[in-house]
C-alpha cells in the first residue's frame, strides 16, 4: 500500500484526447450545421467549389463526429477511467506510456489525413466506412494500440475485478475490431492490375452480400461506438459525480450480456423490404424489439442510481447533463425498435425520420455524456475548478432546445414525406410528384438548420468554458471526491 503513494494517476494521454474531442467536435458540428442548412438553402452548396457540396461533405460530417469526436471522447475517458478503477497509474509502466503516446499521435495524424482524403473524394462508397484502404490500415494499427493499452493496464492492475465500465470498453474494442475488419475487406486495384490510382479498391463482397455486411457494420458501429462505450462512460461518471453507487450492479452485468447478445442481430432492420432473405429481415425486426429490454435495463439503472438524490439535479448541472443523456438514451432505444417494425419501416425508411432518430441518440445521449465526462475530468486533470457554472446552464438549455427542435422537425418531415410518397388518389394514381415531397420539407429543413446553430453555439460555449477552466480558473488544492467544484 505504502508504495502506491509514490504514484499519481498520469493524465497526459487523457488530456491530449480531450483536446481532440473538442477540436473534432467543433469541426464535425460546423460541417453538420452547414450541410443541414444546404438542404434548406441549396445556394450554400457552392462556397468551396467542388469540395463544398452536400454530398462531398456529408461523409466528412459523419466520420468526423464518429471517429473524431466520439472516439476521442471514448479514448480520453478510457485513459482516465481505466487507471482509476484498476488503481494503477500509467506512469508505472514506461511501455504503456509510450504506447499511449503513439496511440494518440497516430490517431490524430490519421484522423486528419482521413478527413482530407474524404474531402478530396477518395471514398469506398460505403456509409460510415468510406475510408480507402491505406487509411483503413492506419485505423487498424491505431485500434490495436488501444488494445495494447487496455490489456496492458489490465495486466498490471491492483484491483482484481474489472469494473463494469471496463467491460463495455473491452466490448467496444472487440466489436469494432471485428466489424471494421470484415466490412472493409477490399482489394486494392492498382496492386492487382498495375494500373490506375493507388488509393482505389473494390469491395470483396458484391451486391446483396455487400449490403448485408455493410449494415451488419453500419448498425453495429452504432452499437459499439454510440452505445457500448458511452454506457462505459456514464457508468463511471454518474456514480462518481453523484457519490451514489450504481443502483444495481447485478442489473448492469445482466444488461451487458443481454445487449451483447441481442444487438448484433438487429442489423438487418436496415434492409427491410430489400432483396435480402425474408427470415433475416424478420429476425432483424424481432431482435430490434427485444433490444429494448437490455437498453432500458441500463437506462433505468442509471436513473435509479439517483434515487433519493434528485435534489442534485437542481444543484449540479453535470448531473443534469447525465440524467438528460440517460433519458434520451431511453427515447432513442424506444424509437429505434419502433422504426424496425416492418409496417412502420415501410414509411420511415429513406426519410428524414432516420437522421432524426440518429440525432436524438448522438446529440442527446452521446455528446451530452461525453461533455459531462469532460466537465468531470478537467478539474481533476488540471487541478482547477470549472470556470463557470452559469455558462454550463446556458449551454445545457441551448443544446436541449436544439435536440428537441431537431427530432421533432425530423419526425414531422419524415412522416410527411413517407406518407406523401405513398398517397394515391381515388383512381389509385400517385398523388404527388417527387418534387412536391421535397418542397414541403423546406420549413422543417430550416428548423433543423436552426437547431444545428443552437447546438453548435452550445458546444462553442462548452469549449470556451473548458479553455478558461484550463487556463485561468481557481486552483484546487486537493482532488474533490465526488461533486465537481465550479464557480
Amino acid at each position: 500500500m505504502q508504495s502506491n503513494a509514490a504514484f499519481e494517476y498520469d493524465y497526459s494521454i487523457a488530456k491530449l484526447f480531450t483536446y481532440t474531442t473538442i477540436l473534432f467536435g467543433i469541426l464535425g458540428m460546423i460541417i453538420g450545421t452547414l450541410i443541414a442548412a444546404q438542404l434548406a438553402f441549396p445556394e450554400l452548396n457552392y462556397m468551396f467549389g467542388e469540395y463544398g457540396t452536400f454530398s462531398r461533405l456529408r461523409p466528412v460530417h459523419t466520420t468526423v463526429v464518429i471517429f473524431g469526436f466520439t472516439l476521442s471522447g471514448v479514448f480520453a475517458t478510457f485513459y482516465y477511467v481505466a487507471q482509476r478503477v484498476l488503481k494503477v497509474s500509467m506512469a508505472e509502466s514506461n511501455l504503456l506510456m509510450t504506447v499511449g503516446k503513439i496511440h494518440f499521435w497516430l490517431y490524430f495524424v490519421g484522423a486528419l489525413l482521413a478527413t482530407v482524403s474524404l474531402v478530396l473524394g477518395f471514398s469506398q462508397g460505403k456509409e460510415y466506412a468510406q475510408y480507402e484502404w491505406p487509411i483503413d490500415i492506419v485505423i487498424v494499427i491505431v485500434w490495436l494500440l488501444w488494445g495494447v493499452s487496455i490489456f496492458g493496464l489490465i495486466g498490471i492492475r491492483r484491483e482484481k475485478s474489472l469494473y463494469i465500465s471496463l467491460w463495455y470498453y473491452i466490448a467496444c474494442f472487440i466489436g469494432i475490431a471485428m466489424l471494421y475488419l470484415f466490412n472493409n475487406m477490399a482489394v486494392p486495384t492498382a496492386l492487382v492490375s498495375g494500373y490506375g490510382n493507388i488509393m482505389h479498391s473494390v469491395s470483396m463482397y458484391s451486391g446483396t452480400n455487400d449490403a448485408l455486411v455493410q449494415w451488419w457494420w453500419g448498425h453495429n458501429a452504432v452499437a459499439f461506438v454510440f452505445t457500448v462505450p458511452i454506457i462505459a462512460i456514464i457508468y463511471y461518471f454518474l456514480p462518481k459525480e453523484s457519490g451514489q453507487a450504481i443502483y444495481s450492479y447485478k442489473l448492469s452485468l445482466l444488461s451487458f450480456w443481454g445487449l451483447m447478445f441481442v444487438y448484433l442481430w438487429a442489423g438487418s432492420h436496415h434492409l427491410l423490404y430489400s432483396p435480402v432473405p425474408d427470415w433475416m429481415q424478420t429476425m432483424g425486426s424481432i431482435f430490434s424489439i427485444v433490444l429494448i429490454l437490455p437498453s432500458w435495463g441500463s437506462a433505468i439503472n442509471m436513473l435509479l442510481t439517483m434515487k433519493g438524490e434528485w435534489n442534485q439535479l437542481t444543484d449540479n448541472p453535470l448531473i443534469k447533463f447525465m440524467v438528460l443523456a440517460s433519458t434520451f438514451y431511453m427515447l432513442s432505444t424506444l424509437e429505434g425498435p419502433i422504426q424496425a417494425i416492418k409496417s412502420v419501416n415501410a414509411i420511415a425508411h429513406f426519410t428524414d425520420w432516420i437522421p432524426g432518430h440518429v440525432h436524438d441518440g448522438t446529440l442527446g445521449w452521446v455528446a451530452f455524456t461525453i461533455m459531462a465526462g469532460i466537465f468531470h475530468m478537467t478539474p481533476r486533470m488540471f487541478k482547477r475548478e470549472i470556470y463557470s457554472k452559469s455558462l454550463m446552464e446556458t449551454q445545457f438549455w441551448l443544446q436541449t432546445l436544439a435536440v428537441v427542435l431537431y427530432f421533432t422537425s425530423m419526425w414531422i418531415a419524415g412522416i410527411t414525406q413517407g406518407m406523401m410518397w405513398r398517397a394515391v388518389d381515388e383512381y389509385g394514381n400517385l398523388m404527388y410528384s417527387f418534387i412536391d415531397t421535397v418542397t414541403v420539407l423546406h420549413p422543417y429543413y430550416a428548423i433543423r438548420a436552426l437547431s444545428g446553430v443552437l447546438y453548435l453555439s452550445g458546444f462553442l460555449i462548452f469549449a470556451y468554458n473548458i479553455y478558461k477552466t484550463i487556463t485561468s480558473s481557481k486552483r484546487l488544492t486537493e482532488e474533490p471526491q465526488f461533486k465537481t467544484p465550479m464557480a
Partner: protein, 68 residues
C-alpha cells in the same frame, strides 16, 4: 437439407442455448448473493473509491505490491 434450413436450425438452437445461458447467469447472480457466497454490489464501490491510495475491493494477487 439445404443451407437455408440448416441456417434456420442453427439459429434456433444457438439462440436457445444463449438464452438458457443468460438465464443461468441471472440465477447465478441472485442465488450466489442470497447464499452469501458473493456480493456483487460491492463492486460498484470501485468507481466511488478510486484513489490510487484507496484499498482495492479485491486485491489482485498477481501484482506484487513491492515490485517497484
Amino acid at each position: 437439407m439445404d443451407i437455408r434450413e440448416l441456417q434456420g436450425y442453427a439459429n434456433f438452437f444457438l439462440t436457445m442455448f444463449l438464452v438458457l445461458l443468460l438465464y443461468g447467469y441471472i440465477l447465478h447472480l441472485y442465488r450466489s448473493e442470497k447464499k452469501g457466497e458473493k456480493d456483487y454490489e460491492k463492486y460498484a464501490d470501485m468507481a466511488l473509491h478510486d484513489e490510487i491510495s484507496d484499498a482495492p475491493v479485491e486485491n489482485n494477487p498477481k501484482t506484487k505490491e513491492s515490485k517497484e
